[in-house]
């Protein structure tokens, strides 16, 4: 029983990371219809930036804040310089571009920081806290808290602020948004910036347990895709819940179903994507648009 609770909590921690990256993917998909395959590598790049700041003697939280700000600016700049010029072209072109970005950023990471794994000292110690008879790692609890905080901040931004309303309007109906004066291009850039910052949180939170190397987020990206598909590609809430479900389910399957173990984790996630797409393509929380005839 103690082991079960421990597995659930550590599943929630990795699920939180999948959820954050899935949220980044969903934000961009909802606003522009694009699946950003480079989201994982962008997160890795952010983690490297944070590592470099830490390496230069910065304390963790200032380095984390600076990384988020830089990632936001980078994401917005990426949209403005690379994505926007081809925004009105065929979707497949943009998707191929994001795959190109994946390869380019991966190469850039290796070129600057080398391919060897780096130890990343996170803000949370790996020492356990005991609750009843169960030992939870502080790192796991910390990641869960950070993920929840991100989701709350984002929900507040989207539901309670004028900027959030503009972001949603630009996503729902860009032509109409222009008529009421919403600068749609700027909104999309902000959307990419937010997604990049979310990815940065995921990358930095993942780095202490995964070790930092240029390929760190590649499997995480696949779990995030599974989470986003499970939750519904256009549902932010679904992305987060999907992430947690995937994290916990994979952990429990890995622990209790012996033939899955560690080796078939990724295959299980891919099987999940397939099953969801076959059984309920809109995902658990995907909105089927209600419209009067």
């Amino acid at each position: 029983m103690a082991n079960f609770a421990q597995q659930v909590v550590s599943g929630l921690a990795s699920g939180g990371i999948y959820g954050l990256l899935a949220l980044a993917i969903v934000l961009i998909h909802r606003a522009t219809g694009v699946i950003n395959f480079a989201q994982g590598e962008m997160a890795t790049l952010s983690a490297f930036v944070c590592w470099t700041l830490l390496d230069h003697g910065w304390a963790f939280w200032p380095a984390f804040g600076a990384t988020l700000a830089l990632s936001f600016v980078g994401g917005a700049a990426l949209h403005t310089t690379v994505i926007r010029p081809i925004q009105n072209g065929p979707l497949i072109g943009i998707v191929i571009l994001t795959i190109g970005l994946l390869i380019a950023i991966n190469g850039l990471d290796t070129w600057i920081w080398g391919g060897a794994s780096k130890q990343f000292k996170g803000p949370f110690s790996t020492s356990p806290i005991r609750v009843g008879g169960v030992a939870f790692s502080k790192q796991d609890i910390g990641v869960i808290v950070v993920a929840i905080a991100c989701v709350l901040v984002l929900a507040f931004l989207f539901e309670r602020t004028k900027l959030g309303l503009g972001l949603r309007a630009a996503a729902v109906n860009p032509a109409e948004a222009r008529f009421v004066g919403v600068p749609v291009g700027a909104m999309l850039a902000v959307g990419w910036g937010l997604a990049a910052a979310l990815g940065a949180v995921a990358g930095v939170m993942a780095a202490p347990s995964l070790f930092l190397d240029p390929n760190m987020m590649q499997t995480v990206l696949l779990y995030a895709f599974a989470a986003a598909v499970l939750g519904g590609m256009d549902s932010p809430l679904g992305a987060v819940i999907g992430g947690l479900v995937v994290g916990v389910a994979l952990n429990l399957l890995g622990t209790y179903v012996h033939w899955i173990g560690g080796e078939l984790r990724l295959a299980t996630a891919l099987a999940l994507i397939l099953v969801v797409l076959l059984a309920k393509p809109s995902g658990l929380f995907g909105r089927t648009l209600v419209r009067r005839a």
Binding site: L165, G166, N173, E176, F179, V180, G181, L289, R291
Partner: protein, 233 residues
Amino acid sequence: MSLLELRDVGARYGEIRALHGVTLTVDEGDFVAILGANGAGKTTTLRAISGTVKTSGEILFDGERIFRRTPEAVARRGIAHVPEGRGTFTTLSVLENLRLGAWTQRGESARDLAHVFEFFPRLYERRDQQAGTLSGGEQQMLALGRAMMAKPRLLLLDEPSLGLAPLVVREIFDTLKTMNERGTTIVVVEQNASLALAAARQAFVLETGRVVLSGAADDLRRNESVRRSYLGY
């Protein structure tokens, strides 16, 4: 004092020219109808003003050319455009749609919101509903209410009566008249010429992308060719 002036404005969609040099003037405080058959260029004229189609010629608002004429910039200058087919944000709530109307405004819009609900009590009842679930008439009210939130100097409307019940159409046009009396300049494009001429003070008739006739709405109503072509008697 003319609020809006189009000088020899041309527009094209790819190879097809939709406007062949439209020239017209709208005075501040006026209520103007643009009439014409399908394909005469009525909608394109509105699009030219709001910057959603590339144009040649000159468009002056309040005596100035609008710098970098994008729809956003035009909206910020105080021109609200309600396109044909209402165009609300279907997955957002009624309230959110109205708030978006005030995007170009600074500060609290509670009073403007109350003002809109005074005109359209039905929107108040449905304020938390998704806009896509409203009836056609309610959506047109929402589109109009959203435009009111922007407190525009110039309101452009494209076919506000399209597909609506006569009673709703009357409500819409009554509201337009009240807005006009309170100082908003209005340009309305309508297929329903008798309706438009009854509401407007000035009117322009477009044919194949040109203004072929203009004058006081009352005079046009008595004009032989307008009667035969657009009023049907």
